[in-house]
Amino acid sequence: MFPMLRQILRNGIVTEPAPDADIALRVTAQRLSEAMLAQLGRALVIRHVDAGSCNACELEIHALNNPYYNLEALGIKFAASPRHADMLLVTGPVAKNMEIAVKRAYDATPEPRLVVAVGDCGCTGGIFGESYASCGRVANVIPVDVCIPGCPPTPLQLMQGILAALAADRKQAEQE
């Protein structure tokens, strides 16, 4: 027990301040009301869906939970089931073999479900594109709210995109 405590104390808290939302990553107008965003902003649950990535996007999503980014401290956590989720975080081009599974995960997510497409692959189909085996970008299969480009996007870019899904649109924000 003592070596563990010593190690924890020696390293202290390394968590860095969270970045701001990058509203430019939104691809649709904000559908959610101010009141709902305020709720979600403090307790968002994400279901990650790998629709056919190369697995490097997953490495960066894992990193979100490391002590530097500490996503959970923002009230954002990952769930094991889409039924418990407010947001789907989808990586990869959607492989043809994953098309049904992705649609089912979307259908199982309660409204108002937010969808964030991750990586160049999720945004455009990326290097894999569309083919007999790939449906291409996530938006070809389910509606998408935010696109986070990058190959893979860094954890900071991921946070900016996830927060963008929870941010009011600029116009909406300006009016208030």
Binding site: N11, S53, A63, Y68, N97, S131, Y132, S134, P152
Partner: protein
Amino acid sequence: MESQTPMQFLNQAIEFEALADHAVPTYAACVDEAELLAFCDAAHAGGRRIVALWGSDERNREARLGFALHVAFDLAEGLACLTLPLSAEAPVFPDLCARFPAVNRMQRAVMDMIGARPASGDVRPWLRHANWPADYHPLRSDVPDTQHATQNEEYAFVRVEGDGVHEVPVGPIHAGIIEPGHFRFSVMGENVLRLEQRLGWKHKGIERRFAGMGLGEGVCLAGRVSGDSTVAYAWAYSQAAEAIGAVAPPPRALWLRALLLERERIVNHLGDLGYLGNDVALAFGLMQFMRLKEDWVRLNARLFGHRFMMDRIVPGGVTVDLDDAGAHAIFTQCEALESELRTLKNIYDEHAGLQDRFLTTGRVTPQLAKLLGVIGLAGRASAQHWDLRCNHACAPYDQLTPRIAIERNGDVAARAQVRFTEIKESLHLIRKILREIPVGEVRCEVRSEADKRGLGWIEGWRGDILVAVETGTDGKIRRCHCHDPSWQNWPALEHAVIDNIVPDFPLINKSFNLSYAGPDL
């Protein structure tokens, strides 16, 4: 070029041609069915193994040709690739599973992609999931790249019968941040009687995508077959491209490649050790190792411009160099990691709860590992002495002389121990590289040549990766096959979980940490 005298191996009367300009000695031969089967027997008797098995459509090369099956063997002398021509009308090849059970899924993938099938044995589809017709073979050169209607597949799982046996289906979407795959457990109470995997969900047509790409272009795609092994894939691909272009990269480039590869090994081992702790409820372990991993990838980004070093290895060399300040930063980081690792290793070793879950869990005995042909990290944890860096050391590993990490227990604890040992060894290798790296250029030009083949072979962190490239008459890629070591090791996981309890599956699975994207292609 001087003409090579033909070579023979394993006392077989097959004449091999030595392929020039390969980083590891590589030989090729055209064989008939009887010769292939006899060679398999001899290789099996000699304790050798099949590295990869794949198919190709040769009809667009020459009208009289049909299809071909390629089987690459790991021999004491190097890599030997046997090619069996198959007829255009009825392409059938002998089932090689009796000697090498690990080729089962590779044979089925050949059937799906090329339309050549094994003469007997398991002929269930593998990469095809009812989302394109059974007679559509995407790697045939005369079929269009079109989408078909998506359907639900009825896959013929093997049923376990008996009182009280029930099935637990898991996936394709799993309950964590993991790649998709389907696991069908047959359980009795808590005990797993049988696990059957159904993979192929991530198949996104990579091999078809390669066709027609320029030799230089292909490396980006190869580096995205399995993103956690991007360095290893890019290096193996580049070796193949350099063999085609008949060039050797400058020595400094090779040393830098080894630096990147060992850094990639450490990144992945750190992550796995963290998640192994997490899977036995030691969140402390996860947080500590994830912090170390983040430090490591941040230095990658600072020195090499990418956290996972994607696209830094290219045919002809590397796109990055290292100055004294960079070398110093790496040195310092190695020292720091070594001391932290000592602390964490002691904590893992002394933690009774963790050891209780790790020890004897998910065992693959050395005998079973040999029978199944388990390779790479998981193989070494079951006393299988496969590590290309030691057995077929290409430059600069011939000068770095790494020590192989061997454990005998084949359980979760052994696979964790191999990771600890390998991180330590990689830290040693990295410092050796920094001390001894030659000065000079880091990149040379590679020009493609028409109708040529090249093979690249690199020990990634999971195991050995093979990339085979063939160019067409226009010098562009005609066929590129990337082979992930997970092909061989997935079946071992099915055996490792037998008689374990279902709740230990995530831990056992993590201890292998096999790739889905790599073999799904």
